[in-house]
Amino acid sequence: MLSPTMVVLALVVFYPLVAAMRESFYESGQRLDADGFVVEGEWFAGLANYAGVVEQRFLNAALNTTLFTVVTVALEVVLGMAMALVMRRAFRGRAVLRASILIPWAVPTAVAGLMWKWIFQADGVANTLLGTDILWTADGPWAKLAVIVADTWKTAPFVGLLVLAGLQIIPSSVYEAAKVDGSTPWQTFWRITLPLVKPALLVAVLFRLMDALRIFDLPYVLVGPRKQSVETLSGLIWDEATRVHYGPASAYGTALFCYIAMITFVFVKLLGADLLSDVRSRGKEARDVA
């Protein structure tokens, strides 16, 4: 049963991964012959493509990526949690509320990016409401804030949805018992809701972390490519690849991969002791049956 799965995985996952890593050590398409034609073929470049990793542009992109990830994921967890708590309660119009909270998540990111671009443009809604004339979409610190706002709006519902699923499997008897014992709402939240919803919350945060570290489309559409203040690692890789610098693009891609792998590993190690225990025990059962 395992081998067809492995073949598919090898084709769609390992091959591109290994090919990208290989590409990161080669140079191609950069030399011209005497007649002005590009010399075909490729040359081993050693670590030359990785030289950019210590340069200002890459470090700036890495810093932006990290900043966006930390800030947006933190905001999204708080907002998502609040949304989930509201969505869980039974009241008239709950279905409508649930649906409307999920709308941002259903909107394609590129469309959301365009929408926020209109909101943030010089004579847009944001400036009118705030009574300011900030150039949100020009390169600068405001652009960072614009991206954070738009990304939080877009993905907080995702966290909300996953947390809601986690909340719904908490048996109501636990809450009834707490009520009988005279627990305050605050105590109930910290002592019952939060610990019991933790596995679902951690999965949501893990997904969001990995997603946020790859963020590309929102800064691209909202502010534009090659704007220093919002250029992320994915944006940098895209820019190199479109300028047919496949070597450096692959090198940066490999670096980004290592960065995401490292963060995920640390996250799973520190917080996720029970995150995958369920999967593991199920895997063990399957093996035992086999």
Partner: protein, 416 residues
Amino acid sequence: MKATHIAAALVLGAGLAGCGSTTPASAPAEQEGGGRGPITFLGGKFEAESVQKIVDAWNAAHPDEKATVVLLPESADEQRRKLIQSAQTKSDTGDVILIDAVWTSEFAANRWVDELKLDTTGFLPTTIETVKYRDKLYAMPLFTGTGLLYYRTDLVKEPPKTWDEMKRICADVLPGQKGMSCYAGQFDKYEGLTVNFAEAVSSAGGRLLDDAGKPQVTSEAAKQAARFLADGFTSGMIPKEAITYKEEEGRVAFQEGKLLFYRNWAYGYEAAQKTDGSSEVAGKFDVAPIPGLNGPGAGTLGGNNLAVSAFSKHEQTARDFVAFMTSAAQIKAFAQTSSMPVARTAIYEDPELVKKYPYLPALKEGILAAVPRPAAVRYGDVTAAIQESAYAIVTGDKPVDQALTELQSALGPLLT
């Protein structure tokens, strides 16, 4: 614990697959014979209906060599990426391709397009410069265009010929016009910034590159041009939101009456002339060649050219199709249904068409004075370097002299 690692690695790998490009080493170029048969035309979304009419005419005359139109994405960056991708996989998805005027060198040097042997008489001479690489013809000009100065005829009697004249007119007119700024172009950090910067330099009498192809961006003219833009922003002659303008944002601002002068392509004429309420300046504006430092300016040449893919299996048909599409008869038929500027001289002298599109004489004057952007194999790197420095100039992040010196040294190694 092992399962954990693998699970994490798999999820990550799936994410990464989209990032790196992994085109395998290329095989030696295939030698294609001059075949005949059905072909595919990869075109942009410009004027798709009018283009289809030419293709229909071709199909009626060549039932055995029918052409099918496939539309590429709207944005030029996306088009370029698609075309390069299919070239690198040696795919024959497009026999005839529509390429931007600035890509000719790159496509020719990479042998992605074939050399052509076609007659280039009857085209505007400047457009022919954009279809050659090292003096050989690799494409045929189809669409063309250059920057025009849109101005308000209700406020300005005579369009300015120089930057100083423009400033003087603004000083006279603007005090009576609330919320109106003097001038804008496209100054967001994208290809439009390269166009506007190059235009300023050539309008000041300079060139980004000299005849030998070496960068000349620290010349006196380049400095004057850069100062015109930098001072324009600091003095408020150019509104500060113009730093976010691409073509459309500026066009809307002009139509809302927020700009006295606006630099744009010819396409903006039709929209600004609309009387359905979307334009407040309908009937109150006209176009003129752009102004310069000491006299009329020189715009940047834009446009799109037709090329034959090197990987076409029906190359002979593809060549004939290019000749057919750019023939005098078809171009005239095209111009009658579309306002997209075309590269044949006769169109600009046709009384019937001039009556329909009153901006044609100004446009012709502009195109003949226009300067193509640097023809570089690594144009992507060149334009990125220009945008980097020009953006620092218009945002005031760097002093003009420093930005230009940096640009000069950045361009050097890209143009060998």
